[in-house]
């Protein structure tokens, strides 16, 4: 944790830490404290006073069908995003690992979507599937399928999942490829000599050896789907139709800023804080285990 050789200076370390600590206090701990405080109150409509309700906001939320629906939407959404983007990335990584010629060109061509902002990914996919002018929507129409994600819940969900997964594939691809390349080739060759088919080698040798990478990516992708896909949802569906794509983070935003329901929004923030905390603990447990290997 620390050096044997250290400098002796009473004031300097505090000065060096000051900027980080000040910013952290002002913009992290103070707002988080405010969220916890506000979650126990209901402000009156004019914002002049607020009434202490204790766990009232939480009790209300947990019996509110809209909030529970948003919970379910988040679970469905993040499961679909995680499975789609990890599945596609693993498939591409396995192939990229097999090729010898041109693998770095493939890597470059697959890595760049990571740099595309979720909101930009949203606009790109919205354009292709726009019910009026979108190219894919038009060809679907020509093929007899009437695409309209503005009205259809399932299509809206499909579209936000596609845009969110598209952007995350490159991240997963990089880590899967690194994981695959770390597996000793001799192990796989030995199995090949024994006559194991590619599929069999993959499921019995490669996939189990990849499990640390897979687990790590699982946590990262869930965090991504929960918290970083706001831009995708806001640009494509704005949470609709009705509330079909309102994930938890989107609901904090729409209740807090659009609906001005501050007590409820604060309570939702606190619930999300607990979720992030749990995910962080899971992540660190995993890293700890990796260190012990």
């Amino acid at each position: 944790m620390q050096k044997r050789v250290v400098f002796n200076n009473r004031l300097l370390p505090y000065l060096l830490l000051a900027p980080q600590i000040v910013v952290t206090m002002l913009f992290f701990f103070w707002p988080a404290g405010q969220a916890i405080y506000q979650s126990a109150y209901i402000p009156d409509p004019f914002g002049l006073s607020s009434q202490f309700v204790g766990w009232g906001n939480f009790e209300f939320l947990l019996s509110d069908p809209y909030y529970l629906a948003s919970f379910k939407t988040t679970v469905v959404f993040s499961t679909l995003v995680t499975v789609t983007s990890m599945g596609a990335a693993l498939w591409l990584a396995v192939m990229a690992d097999r090729v010898i010629k041109g693998s770095s060109a493939y890597k470059t061509l697959l890595v760049w979507p990571y740099a595309v902002a979720p909101a930009v990914a949203g606009v790109l996919w919205l354009f292709m599937f726009n019910p009026n002018v979108g190219l894919v929507a038009w060809y679907l129409g020509a093929a007899g399928y009437d695409w309209n994600h503005v009205l259809n819940d399932g299509e809206a969900m499909g579209l936000v999942v596609a845009a969110s997964s598209w952007r995350q594939i490159s991240y997963n691809f990089l880590f899967f490829l690194a994981g695959l390349q770390a597996i000793p080739k001799s192990v796989i060759e030995a199995a090949a000599i024994d006559g194991a088919s590619f599929a069999r080698r993959f499921w019995t040798i490669v996939f189990p050896l990849l499990s640390p990478t897979t687990f790590f990516l699982l946590v990262v992708n869930i965090v991504y789907a929960f918290f970083e896909t706001f831009g995708v949802i806001h640009t494509i569906t704005a949470g609709g139709p009705q509330q079909a794509t309102t994930i938890l983070v989107y609901k904090v935003f729409s209740d807090g800023f659009v609906g001005q329901d501050l007590g409820s929004s604060a309570a939702q923030s606190v619930i999300l804080l607990v979720l992030v905390g749990l995910l962080t603990v899971v992540q660190f447990r995993y890293i700890e285990r990796k260190v012990h290997y």
Partner: protein, 281 residues
């Protein structure tokens, strides 16, 4: 490398074809956006839109850059650049000095500070939007670069990365510096900082992309179009009613919004991968 025992040939071809199909699917949305940015609006409004680029490239990009829809795109690009640079440089500076304090000094409450920084990992902006907005509004920082940058510059990840790196620096270096009579600031500037070059560069690439791609935060605190960043400004370009959006200009803007971070990833790929892997440790 080619020591694989199994027969190559058809399998290799299939692998290449599979990869190319994957790449084609991944690149398709960008290609369509590019086509849309080179045609006229009526061509898009009467579907199906063309599949090959048109001849209005310069026209559409000029229109976007100089006029845009709410604000000219050059201004949003400038705002994004300032925000991304401010966040990347700010995070690196305050993280490297706090990591230095934690590793190279012994002082009361050291561990408390360490945990305070650590806890911020659990507080993403998305989770505390309303109260953070209130704090920033209270400081009068709405519609300002300070408001865009300052709340996002604390970084537990960058602090840990530098801490990790400093711990691998041999103790003899600090010892030698002390024997030579160099103080802590000299040692930091002359020895530690030059040694951290690659780490700083790798982190810069990741943080620049992070800053550039911010969406929710600028959406909340910039209400004036001339303070919009490009990533959040695109959504504001869509008409609210039934009017047909000016797709060619919007798509030209979308491509310009992704160009800087994509260029960073493509041209600094090695640093990018290093930064990505290290910041996840």
């Amino acid at each position: 490398m080619s020591g694989m025992v199994e027969k190559r040939g058809l399998g290799t071809w299939l692998t290449h074809i599979g990869l190319l199909i994957g790449i084609a699917i991944i690149c398709f949305p960008i290609y369509m956006a590019f086509v849309a940015s080179t045609v006229t609006q009526p061509e898009i409004a009467r579907p199906p839109m063309p599949l090959l680029p048109g001849s209005h490239f310069i026209e559409n990009y000029t229109a976007a850059l100089t006029q845009g829809i709410n604000a000219p795109v050059w201004q949003m690009l400038l705002n994004s650049s300032i925000m991304a640079m401010g966040i990347a440089v700010g995070k690196i500076v305050i993280s490297i000095i706090s990591a230095y304090a934690i590793v190279y000094f012994r002082f009361p409450f050291r561990m408390m500070f360490f945990w305070l920084i650590f806890l911020t990992l659990m507080l993403p902006v998305e989770v505390r939007i309303v109260p953070t907005y209130e704090v920033v509004a209270g400081f009068g920082m709405l519609n300002s670069y300070t408001g865009l940058i300052l709340p996002l510059v604390a970084s537990a990840t960058a602090t840990f990365l530098f801490r990790q790196f400093f711990l691998t620096v041999p103790d003899e270096l600090a010892e030698a510096a002390r024997v030579d009579g160099a103080g802590p600031i000299r040692f930091f500037l002359d020895i530690l900082l030059p040694m951290s070059r690659t780490n700083i560069a790798a982190l810069f690439v990741i943080l620049f992309i992070y800053g550039w791609n911010q969406y929710l935060w600028p959406l909340l605190i910039t209400t004036k179009p001339e303070m919009n960043t490009i990533v959040m400004g695109i959504k504001q370009m869509f008409p609210s009613g039934d009017d047909i959006a000016d797709w060619p200009v919007i798509m030209a803007t979308t491509l310009m919004a992704m160009l800087p971070p994509v260029a960073v990833v493509v041209f600094m790929q090695r640093l990018f991968v290093k930064g990505l892997v290290e910041s996840e440790k």
